[in-house]
C-alpha cells in the first residue's frame, strides 16, 4: 500500500464525534412497532448451499476435450508450411571449391563478373580452407594493410555466396572495377532476397555480423610465391570474395599461388566474412599466410598475419 493510500485509509478510519441530536433516541423507540409483527415472520432459514455452476463444469469439460483433440490433430498433422532451412554456417570450415561453389539455398547469387575460369570446378587446396579477415601491415613491409571499404549496411540473410578461392582471379586486374560496380547491384539484390526470405532465415542472417576484409600483400621479388587464407570455423559462418587486384599470374590455381613476382608487387584481396553471432569480438577470424622463395636465392620465407575486420 502506497503512502497516499495509507493516508486515505487513516482519514477514512478517523472517528469524528457525531453526536445524535437530542430526542432522536426517543423518536426511534417510539416508532418501534408494538407486538408481534416480527413473530409472524416466516421461520428462520438455515444457510443455503451454494450449488456449483453446472454450466461452468460443462464448459470446462468441453474445453478439455476440444483442447485434447486439437493437440492430437496438431501433433499428427503435417506442418502447414514447409520448413525453411538455413544453410549451416559451415562454409569456412569446408574446403572451398575453386571457381565458385554451387549455392545450396534457394536464393543463389552468382558473382556477376566472375571470370569464366573461376567458374570451373577446381580441386580445392587443403590449405585453403576458410577465408579470413583483414591483414594488418606486416612488419618489415612484407604484408601491408589497406583501407577497408565501408561495410554493407544490412546483412544479406539467405544470399548464397560463391566460395571462390584465391586462385581464380587471374583476370581480375581488369575486372576489379567492374566487380566493384556490380557489388552495388548485388547488394541491392541481396537486400531484396533478404526481405523475401522466411522469418527464421532472416532472423538468423540478421544475427550474423559482417566483417569486410581488405588484404594487401606487398612482396619482394619472389619465386613460387603463394598466399592463402585460413579461416577459423568457430568464428566465421560464411565468406565470399569481392574482388582482387594485382594478380599477374593467369595460372593461379586453387592453392592460390602467386607465382613469380616482380619486385614490389602489390596484390590486393577483398573479402567479406560473416561472423557467427557468438564469435568473440576480440578473436581473429583467421590468418593470412604466405610463402615465397627470394628471387636472389636462399631459403623459402613463410609468414602469416592475423586477420581483423576492416571496420
Amino acid at each position: 500500500m502506497s503512502r497516499p493510500e495509507r493516508e486515505i485509509a487513516r482519514r477514512l478510519s478517523e472517528t469524528p464525534v457525531y453526536a445524535p441530536p437530542a430526542g432522536l433516541l426517543a423518536r426511534l423507540q417510539a416508532e418501534i412497532p408494538s407486538g408481534l409483527q416480527a413473530a409472524e415472520a416466516e421461520p428462520f432459514r438455515g444457510p443455503t448451499r451454494r450449488r456449483p455452476a453446472r454450466w461452468l463444469a460443462a464448459a470446462a469439460v468441453a474445453f478439455t476435450v476440444a483442447g485434447a483433440g486439437w493437440l492430437v490433430w496438431r501433433v499428427q498433422a503435417p506442418p502447414l508450411l514447409p520448413e525453411t532451412r538455413v544453410r549451416p554456417a559451415s562454409a569456412p570450415a569446408d574446403p572451398a571449391p575453386v571457381g565458385g561453389a554451387e549455392p545450396q539455398e534457394p536464393e543463389v547469387e552468382a558473382p556477376v563478373s566472375a571470370p569464366p575460369a573461376a567458374r570451373k570446378p577446381t580441386p580445392a587446396s587443403p590449405r585453403q580452407e576458410p577465408p579470413p579477415v583483414q591483414a594488418e601491415p606486416a612488419p618489415g613491409g612484407v604484408v601491408g594493410g589497406a583501407a577497408a571499404p565501408p561495410p554493407p549496411p544490412e546483412p544479406a540473410p539467405q544470399a548464397a555466396y560463391e566460395a571462390a578461392p584465391l586462385a581464380e582471379a587471374a583476370e581480375l586486374p581488369e575486372k576489379v572495377e567492374r566487380e566493384a560496380k556490380s557489388l552495388e547491384s548485388r547488394e541491392l539484390r541481396r537486400q531484396d532476397s533478404a526481405a523475401a526470405a522466411p522469418e527464421p532465415a532472416r532472423a538468423k542472417a540478421a544475427a550474423l555480423r559482417r566483417c569486410p576484409l581488405v588484404l594487401v600483400l606487398s612482396l619482394p621479388a619472389a619465386r613460387e610465391a603463394e598466399a592463402w587464407l585460413e579461416l577459423d570455423p568457430a568464428s566465421v559462418a560464411r565468406w565470399r570474395r569481392e574482388g582482387t587486384e594485382g594478380w599477374t599470374d593467369a595460372a593461379l590455381s586453387a592453392p592460390a599461388p602467386l607465382g613469380d613476382l616482380p619486385a614490389a608487387r602489390r596484390v590486393e584481396l577483398r573479402y567479406e566474412l560473416e561472423l557467427l553471432p557468438d564469435a568473440p569480438p576480440d578473436r581473429s577470424p583467421g590468418r593470412l599466410r604466405w610463402r615465397y622463395s627470394p628471387r636472389g636465392g636462399g631459403a623459402a620465407v613463410e609468414g602469416s598475419r592475423a586477420l581483423s575486420c576492416t571496420t
Binding site: T15, P20, Q29, E31, I32
Partner: protein
C-alpha cells in the same frame, strides 16, 4: 458477546418484549447515525435517515434470517436508505454557506473549515466510487463491520474484500491527488 446479546434481544422482542427492542435501538442507533453522517455529511439529514432506517428495519424484520449479524443487517438497510435518499429530488443547501456560518461562529473556524472541506471531498470521492467498492469502503471504514461480515454480505471471500479495499484506496488516492499524501 454483543452479538449474542443482540440475538437474545431480538428473540425477546419477537416473543413480545417491547423493552428488548428499545434496548436494541439504544445500543445501535449511534453507529447508524454516525454512518449516515459520514455518508451524507449532514447531521440533520442523518437523523432523518436514521429514523427511516429503523422504520424499514422493523418492517423487514420478518425477512431477517439471522445468517448475518443484526448490526450488519442494519448497516445494509442504512446504506440502502442513504442511496435512496440520494436518488430522491431534494432541495440543495450549498455546502459553502454552511461553512461560512461555521467560520463566523468559531475562533478556530478557518481550521475547522479546512478540515470540513477535506472531509467533504473525501466523502464525495467515496460516493463517486463504483458500487462494489463504495459499499466495501463504507462498510469497513464507516460501518466498522468486520471483513468477514462484509464478505458474507457480498458473497465473496475475505481476500476479495481486501482486494476491493486496495482498489478503492488506490482510486481515492488518485481522485484526491496529493491531498492524501
Amino acid at each position: 458477546m454483543a452479538e449474542t446479546d443482540d440475538r437474545q434481544l431480538l428473540a425477546a422482542y419477537v416473543a413480545g418484549d417491547q423493552s428488548a427492542a428499545e434496548l436494541l435501538v439504544e445500543r445501535t442507533y449511534r453507529n447508524v447515525h454516525a454512518l449516515l453522517c459520514r455518508l451524507s455529511g449532514d447531521p440533520d439529514v442523518a437523523a432523518d435517515l436514521t429514523q427511516e432506517t429503523y422504520r424499514r428495519a422493523w418492517a423487514a424484520l420478518a425477512s431477517f434470517d439471522r445468517r448475518a449479524q443484526f448490526s450488519t443487517w442494519l448497516f445494509r438497510i442504512a446504506y440502502t436508505t442513504f442511496l435512496n435518499h440520494l436518488r430522491r429530488p431534494r432541495r440543495f443547501v450549498p455546502l459553502e454557506a454552511r461553512h461560512e456560518a461555521e467560520l463566523d461562529a468559531a475562533p478556530s473556524a478557518e481550521e475547522a473549515l479546512r478540515q470540513a472541506m477535506a472531509a467533504d471531498r473525501l466523502r464525495r470521492a467515496v460516493l463517486a466510487l463504483p458500487e462494489d467498492l463504495r459499499f466495501t469502503v463504507t462498510a469497513v471504514y464507516w460501518g466498522e463491520l468486520p471483513t468477514s461480515e462484509v464478505a458474507r454480505q457480498e458473497g465473496i471471500t475475505g481476500v476479495a474484500v481486501r482486494k476491493r479495499l486496495k482498489r478503492a484506496l488506490g482510486r481515492l488516492a488518485q481522485a484526491l491527488g496529493g491531498e492524501g499524501a
